[in-house]
């Protein structure tokens, strides 16, 4: 009895393992964020558009908002830009941009400014993370990454890849509705 049952059980276990492991829809580079359900890291950084001003998420307490970490060096960020623009025009929630400078130079801030002037600005505010410290606090490892923060200031969802209309409707809108609208 065992002689037949054991190999069969092993076979079934392998099928289940492969069905999960080889699923082409599963992104092996997308890791679960330990930040989910925890307070969003606080930041106060210079404004990309006007370095004399400070962008801080402390002023957004009580609102639902998005944090989008991007950079002009990031190809996928260019791809998602149109989707972000379209989303910003729906005025559902404010989108806070964090311009992640990987070379720690001021050049990225100027490039970001030009990028927004040329391609349009989907952000209500854009912060300049010159030293990449805020990116580390958010556990960012592959821009673009988008975080959804609820009224209590907790991160409730993280998208690791470019924003698309489909993802926005499927993953973000229901969660925003559940969290109570933020008002853009």
């Amino acid at each position: 009895m065992w002689k037949f049952l054991l190999p069969f059980a092993a076979f079934v276990a392998l099928v289940v393992l492969f069905a999960f492991g080889l699923n082409p829809k599963r992104d092996i580079h997308a890791l679960p964020s330990p930040l989910i359900g925890k307070p969003a890291p606080e930041f106060a950084l210079p404004d990309v558009l006007d370095a004399s001003r400070t962008v801080s998420n402390a002023t957004l307490k009580g609102q639902v908002y998005l944090v989008n970490v991007w950079g002009t060096w990031c190809v996928e960020c260019r791809v998602e830009h149109e989707a972000l623009l379209a989303i910003s025009q729906q005025h559902v929630v404010p989108i806070i941009g964090i311009d992640w400078s990987v070379d720690h130079g001021m050049g990225e801030s100027d490039k970001a400014k030009q990028w927004l002037e040329r391609l349009g600005n989907p952000y209500s505010q854009v912060a300049f993370d010159k030293e990449g410290r805020t990116a580390i606090d958010f556990g960012v490892y592959a821009a673009p990454e988008t975080f959804l923060v609820d009224r209590q200031g907790n991160v409730i969802f993280k998208l690791i890849s470019g924003m698309t209309q489909e993802v926005w409707e499927k993953e973000f809108l229901p969660r925003i509705a559940a969290a109570g609208k933020g008002g853009a």
Binding site: H29, P34, V102, D103, G132, R133, A135, I136, G139
Partner: protein, 150 residues
């Protein structure tokens, strides 16, 4: 012809594995004194030793199979800076590891600490060893009952 017990080498292997695991677990934390030089390198050689051990133990998430000690990625460089700064600030190894896992999750460590969630990872080699031992034991016993000339 000898039919020595297959359990002996298996036991020795398990003992060696356990010793290696205990070695990984040893951690030391001493208050540092010196700072960073102009190149952002640690001046204190003791801290440098700790830095190298910690950096080898942290995964670069941009490249996933390299440690931040080996990787040239921008994020790895930023995380190395973070580790050095925390060492200079007198943080313990545990504090540095929890700083990283709080932000990047357990996956950032190559050897995650033993917990209910990681029990399967740590236990699997021993389980496989036992399984293999059991199979060999059964096969050898069965064959020992067979007549010598078939």
């Amino acid at each position: 012809m000898s039919r020595g017990s297959p359990r002996l080498p298996a036991l020795a292997l398990a003992a060696a594995l356990a010793a290696a695991l205990a070695g990984i677990g040893i951690a030391c934390a001493e208050p540092p004194a010196a700072g960073l030089d102009a190149q952002g390198q640690l001046q204190n050689p003791e801290l440098q030793v700790r830095f190298e051990r910690i950096a080898k133990e942290l995964r670069c998430l941009q490249c996933q199979n390299e440690s931040i000690a080996d990787s040239n990625a921008d994020l790895a460089r930023d995380l190395r800076r973070q580790v050095r700064e925390m060492l200079v600030a007198g943080k313990s190894d545990d504090a540095i590891f929890s700083f990283m896992t709080d932000r990047y999750g357990e996956f950032v460590r190559f050897a995650p600490p033993l917990s209910p969630k990681t029990a399967l990872i740590w236990g699997a080699p021993f389980f496989m060893l036992l399984l293999g031992g059991a199979v060999i034991y059964r096969v050898v016993r069965q064959r020992s009952r067979m007549p010598l000339d078939e």
